[in-house]
Each structure stands twice: as C-alpha cells, then as structure tokens.
Amino acid sequence: MVKGEPLVILLVEDNPDHAELIKRSFQDHRVANAIYAVTDGQAALDYLFRQGDYADPATSPRPHLILLDLRLPKVDGMEVLKQIKGRNDLHRIPVVVLTTSEAEGDMSNAYDNHTNSYLVKPVDFDKFTQLMADLGFYWLGWNSSPYSQ
C-alpha cells in the first residue's frame, strides 16, 4: 500500500440494500478511500473495460479490490469473474466473491475461474460488519500486490 494513493474498491452488487450495508461497514471501519458500486454484470464489465458509461478513465479508476456478487442481472457474476481473470491487464486484481449462495457448485466454479476468495454473506448483523472489516484490512492492509497492476 502506497500512502497518499486512494484505495479503490469496485463493488458489484445488484441488491441496493446490501450495497448500502457493505458501504456503511467499510466507512465505519475506514477501510477504503473510494467505493465504486455497480448493480449488474454488464456495468461491472463496462467499468473494468472502460467502455459505455465508463469510457472516461477518470470515472473508472483501477480498483485494488473487486467485491463480486454472483447472481447479477444481465451478465452473471461468474461470467464477469471469467472475463476479469481472462484479461492480462485485470487478472492480478484480487477478486472476492461475496454472495448469499452456499451452493457447492458456485464455490467450485468460482475457484475454477480463479477467484481469490469466496465469502458468504452472514445473516447476523455483527458477523456481517466484522467480516466486512476483516475483509478490508486483509485485502487492503495485509495483502501485498505487485506495484504495477
């Protein structure tokens, strides 16, 4: 982590309530400087590929972490994951799958598509906020990434 550089999280979450909960948790624990949220798979890809509404790089800074829900409108989360990990300029960005699904198939698929982590949203409020805090500290604090993404 380089001081002075804003830490950017891309949050891909179709449920606005969940997105709100995640954002609040991060803010409460001062995890990130900037959270960019999109609500469907296509928007996530547009952001990352800098196309459509996100053609201007100023609106779509490279994230240091991607939080990805699996069940998304338009383009499925698994497809988004596949595309990220298939691109040379994106595949080093840590992708954490954050979903309600505990299905065995979803987990295997996610790991097969090189997810960096797979997290199930806890129903319990305390556990939820704790997970968000730990997630932020781990990926943006403890975890090291190469300088050039």
């Binding site: 449920n15 606005p16 969940h18 409108p73 338009k74 309600t100 949203k121 806890p122 129903v123």
Partner: protein, 674 residues
C-alpha cells in the same frame, strides 16, 4: 432364450470334404462314365450270357468266315484246275494215235538198242523218225494251246528212259527213280501229281504223270503199260499265282501248301523267323495249321505261323490223288485283321471320351441345377444365422426344394416380423423410459435450481432486514435519527418482498398440481378478464389495452390460462419505461399452422442477448423494477405444461417487445404433470 442347438453334432458339425455340388457332380460323372464304359465295352465285346456278340467277336467270326470262304474257293479252284490237268493227261494218254506213235517210237528205240548202247546219234536219228515227229508236233500243239506246260515227256515204262521230250536235251535221261515216274508206273489208271525239283535250276515244278498203254497188247496183261507220259507245269506260273492271289485277304494274306511230310511245296511269301527263305521240298513247316491240314484235317484256328506271328488261319486238305494229300493253309495276320477293329475301338473310345466330357459337363450342369437352389438356401440360412433378416432365398422351382425355399422365406419373414415387433416395443419402451427419465431429470434440476434460488432470494431480504435492524439499534443507542426512517422503509420493503416471494413460490409450486378440468375457453374472454383484473395498474400507468376480435377457442384450465395473460400484461406494464403513449395489444398472429397468440407492448424492449434469461426463475433484467423474477417463469411453466411454446421478440431496447405463445387445440389434452 435358449440358443443351444440340439445335439446333432455327428451330422451337422462334421465338415463335408466336398460340397454338395462337387459330390453330386462326382456321383453323376461316375454314373455316366460307368454307363458309357459299359456301353462301349458291350459294343466291342458283346454282352455276356446273351447271344449278342460284340464288335470283337463279330469281326473275328467275319474274318474267319471270310478266310474259310477263300480257303474253300482256293481249294475248289485248285481241285478244278488239277482235275483239268488230270483230264488233259488222261485224254492224251488214252489217245490211240498217241498210243500208236509212242509204240512205234519205242519199237524204233528198242531196235536201235539191240545194236548197242544208245548214243547221241541214236537220239538225233530218232528225231527224224516219222512217229517221233508226229508226237512232237502234237505235244507242241498242246503246249502252245494250253500255255500251261513247260515240257512234255514220255519215258519208257520199263527202264524209265526218256525217249520223247519237247526239250530235246532230256532225251536219254532216266527218270526211273523219280517219284512221279514210280507212282504213275504202278498206278495203272491213276494220275500221279508230284512236285519235284529241277536239279539243274533248283526250281520246283509240278508234274502230272500217267501211263500210256500199249494198244496192241490191250488184251494181254504183259507189257500192257508201255510208257509214262509226264507233263511239267511251272508252279510259279500257275499254282502259285492261283493260290497266292487271295481276294479279300489283305496285305498279310498268305497261302501255304505243304505235303504230307510237312515240307513246303511253294515258296513262302515271307521269310522265316530267322530271316532266311524256306526252300521248297526242303523246309519242313512245323506250324500247327499246316501240320493239321497235311494230315487231312480241315478247320479254322488262331495260331502261330512259320514266322512265329499270330495269324487267323483256315486250313484245308487237298486230296491230290487217292493216295496222296496236301495241306493248304489260308492265313492272315491277326494284327491286320484286327487293325480296323482297333481303329473302330479307338473311334469308340474317342466318341466315348467326348461323351465322357459331355457326361461330366452334363453332370456338373445337372448337379448345379439340383444343388443350386439348395446351396442358395444354405447361403441364405447362413446369412440369416449371421443376423441379416433382409435376405430371401430365390424360389426357382415348384418342387420340394422350391417349397422348402418358400417355407424358409416365410419363416424368415415371421422371424423378421417378430423381431421388428420386439424392436418396436423395445424402442417404444425405451423412448418412454427416456422421456420419463428426462422428465425426472428436468424436475430434479428444476428442484435444485428452485432450492438454490429460494435459499438465495429468501436469504437476501433477511440480510437486509438484519443489517438495517443492527444499524437501527446502533443509531437508537447513539441518538442518531438522521437515517432512521429510510432504514425502516428498507426493512419494510424487504419484508414485503419476502412475503410476495413466498406467495409466488407457492403459486409456482401449484401450477403442476392443481389443475382444474380442461374446458373450452374463448381466448378473447381470457384477455378481457386479465385486463379487468389489472384495471388498477392499467389506469395508473395510463396504458391503452387493445384486444383483437375473432380470437379462437382454446382448451385448458381457465384459471391457469388467465394467469398467463395476466402475468404477460403485468410484465408489459412494469417495463413500459417512459413511453408517453403506452399500449398493449393482445391477439393471434395470422397465417400460422397453429394459432400463435401474442402480447405486444411499446415499452422498453429487450436486448436479444437476454431473450433466454428472462424466463428463468428470479432472473430480472432490471434491478430497479419491483418484480420478484418469478412471473415469467410461471408463464413459461404453464404454457409448457399445456405442451405449448413461448418466446419473446423485440426490435431492441426502446422498441417494445412481443411475447408469443402457443396453446393446444381442443382435442389435445394437456401433458400430464409428473
């Protein structure tokens, strides 16, 4: 099925050394060959124990008969000829004039002899004698007339002195020791016939001699016989040509003449076995026919001749004089006689061989004709055994084989039919099983998907509720009321969403189970009822609903069918977007084989890439909309339960969309939910 064949290995499993056709061909060939051989043999050698004699016997008896005839002919001719000669000499010897002249000449010589030993002068003088000259004239006339006699002599009966001869050199010679003289001298009336040899020329000749009586002493017994008349015939010139010329005897035809001692009387036609020539009166022939003939026997025989060659011979006895006989053998080489027979046998064999080839050909043809259908049947049976039931045996005849082939064909046909029946049944059941299996699998995966989505979609609002409740608690503790109302709204919405979700899930689970009895329903009524039900939403969004006339009857559960229309209309209203003149049209597409119904709107439209996704459970394209993502899944499920299809078409985003679906005709009952 018990496929073990019955135990007949001793018959069927032993490999045949030859095929049926070969065996039949061999059998027929052997049969034809045997019969042909018998016929040829019977032709040549005759049939045993019957009167039918074959070519061989016929030829032999023909030759022997021929030989016999020739022999008889020769014998008769010779006898005749000899008789003529005997008559000649008798006529001369009994001629009184000759008797007188002989007497006179004898007297002249007797007178001269009294004066001394005869000498050349005597014979010279004698020739001048009138009687001698008369005799000479007479005998020469005989010679020239008959052209038969080489010379004619007269010898004194008492002394054997030759006192007359047509050959003057003979005068004065004595013939007293010659057989022809002695035989003639002592056989007063008889004629002696002898073959003798000229000591000077070594040539054989035939003599015929007879006594001449003294006419003056006719009444006295003393000196009755005055002289012996001897006539010489060259046998080469007469007998031999007569005897050897054998009509119909062929090249090897031969006549052998032998006296009682077995000595040959004529030159032999062929050299002896050692290559030398047998000399007349010296060579003693020992061949059987000649011996038999000389001893007075007559007959026919197949034997060896003087050369040692096997001949067919007829032997005859020729009685030359009462006390003297000759043997005559007329013979021909067996080889020559049988040469034509051999060529005939050869011909017969050639014809036989040609016949044999024909017979074998016929045998092959016949066996092919007979075995062909059987072999074809056998091949067909093999192919059927190998599993090919399409083959049939050709039925080429109406005999037992033909009827066997026909029965066999009908047998295969029945097997084939039962096979096909069985196959059809198996295929039928397999198809049903597969369909069942597929249905089970579909249901299973749908159930899995259902569980999955339910757990996800029901968990989501729970997280929301719990999360914001947590913040409410924190805010309440800290006295922060800033976001209180908003958070309570979020919780309330989430609860409402959960309630609706549960309702719709219940609804979805009922589709298959709660089916009212199908009935005829006017599609127009369905459409109007749906519009009435949704009247609140329709008027709220200011939507114009157009329902076409002339809509057909559909067949099914009224409640379920109306759910289809309601959901589609509801969906259209939700995604109308910011269309200023919202319009929904319900109708049936013309010009289709089956009625294709549609619900058309002029709302947001759908990107083609999402055509499949929208019908999935909980799949929503727009997160902002307040649907649960179950509505279209319910529509799809109902349509498919009735065996229909549903799909969506859209010109693209902002161009509106059309949902098409088909429903069964009246007489098609809905697929039973399993």
């Amino acid at each position: 099925m018990n496929r073990n064949p019955p135990d007949n290995s001793g018959l069927t499993n032993r490999p045949a050394f030859f095929g049926l056709r070969t065996r039949m061909a061999l059998s027929f060939g052997a049969l034809f060959t045997g019969m042909l051989t018998l016929v040829v043999l019977a032709t040549i050698f005759g049939i045993p124990f019957t009167t039918d004699s074959g070519l061989y016997d016929e030829e032999r008896s023909e030759v022997l008969k021929n030989l016999s005839l020739v022999a008889d002919l020769k014998k008769d001719r010779f006898h005749l000829w000899l008789q003529e000669r005997k008559n000649d000499i008798s006529a001369l010897a009994q001629n009184s004039n000759i008797q007188e002249q002989v007497k006179h000449v004898r007297e002249v010589i007797r007178d001269e002899m009294k004066q001394g030993e005869p000498n050349g002068v005597l014979w010279t003088d004698l020739r001048q004698d009138r009687s001698y000259r008369k005799l000479d004239h007479l005998f020469r006339m005989i010679q020239s007339t008959y052209k038969m006699y080489d010379k004619i002599r007269v010898a004194d009966a008492a002394t054997g002195l030759v006192f007359f001869s047509t050959d003057e050199k003979d005068l004065g010679n004595s013939v007293s020791d010659k057989r022809f003289f002695i035989h003639a001298r002592y056989s007063v009336r008889g004629v002696s016939v002898e073959i003798a040899k000229d000591p000077l020329s070594d040539r054989p000749f035939l003599t015929i001699s007879r006594v001449i009586v003294n006419p003056s002493l006719r009444n006295s017994t003393e000196h009755l016989v005055s002289a012996v008349l001897i006539m010489y015939v060259d046998p080469d010139r007469f007998m031999k040509s007569m005897l050897h010329t054998g009509a119909g005897l062929g090249k090897s035809g031969d006549v052998v003449l032998a006296n009682e001692d077995g000595r040959i009387l004529l030159d032999l036609k062929f050299p002896l076995a050692d290559g030398t020539r047998g000399k007349v009166l010296e060579h003693k022939i020992e061949a059987e026919p000649a011996m038999l003939a000389a001893r007075g026997r007559e007959g026919m025989v197949i034997s060896r001749d003087y050369r040692g060659v096997t001949v067919l011979a007829a032997y005859r006895h020729i009685r030359v004089t009462p006390d003297q006989g000759w043997g005559m053998v007329v013979k021909v080489d067996k080889a020559e006689v049988f040469a034509p027979l051999e060529s005939r046998i050869l011909n017969a064999l050639v014809i036989g061989a040609i016949g044999l080839i024909g017979a074998i050909g016929l045998a092959i043809l016949l066996s092919a004709r007979i075995s062909g259908p059987i072999r074809s049947l056998s091949r067909t049976a093999e192919r059927v055994e190998a599993g090919n039931l399409d083959v049939r045996s050709a039925v080429t005849s109406s005999d037992e084989v033909g009827s066997l082939a026909a029965s066999f064909n009908s047998m295969i046909e029945r097997i084939e039919h039962s096979h096909k029946d069985l196959e059809t049944q198996v295929a039928d059941r397999t198809a049903r099983l597969t369909a069942l299996n597929q249905a089970l699998e579909d249901q299973n995966s749908e159930l899995e998907r259902f569980t999955y989505t339910v757990s996800h979609d029901l968990k989501s609002p729970l997280i929301t509720i719990k999360g914001f409740l947590g913040y409410l608690k924190e805010d309440a503790a800290s006295g922060n009321t800033e976001r209180l109302d908003a958070d309570v709204d979020r919780i309330s919405d989430a609860v409402a969403k959960m309630a609706r979700l549960l309702d719709e899930l219940l609804e979805l689970s009922r589709i298959g189970r709660l089916t009212n009895p199908p009935e005829e329903v006017l599609f127009e009524k369905l459409a109007r009822d749906a519009a009435d039900t949704l009247a609140g939403q329709i008027s709220e969004h200011n939507v114009r609903v157009e329902i076409n006339d002339d809509l057909p009857l559909v067949y099914g559960d009224y409640v379920r069918l109306s759910e289809v229309i309601e959901n589609l209309v509801d969906n259209a209203i939700k995604f109308m977007g910011d269309q200023p003149d919202p319009c929904i049209q319900i109708g049936v597409r013309p010009d289709d084989e089956e009625p294709v119904f549609y619900v058309r709107d002029n709302g947001m439209g759908i990107d083609p890439q999402y055509y499949g996704k929208i019908f999935g459970l909980f799949d929503k394209l727009d997160q902002e909309s307040d649907g649960t993502g179950i509505g279209l899944a319910i529509v799809k499920r109902i349509v498919e339960t009735y065996g229909g299809r549903i799909w969506v078409e859209s010109e693209g985003a902002g161009q509106g969309s059309v949902f098409y679906f088909t429903l069964p005709e009246k007489n098609e009952s809905p697929g039973k939910e399993t």
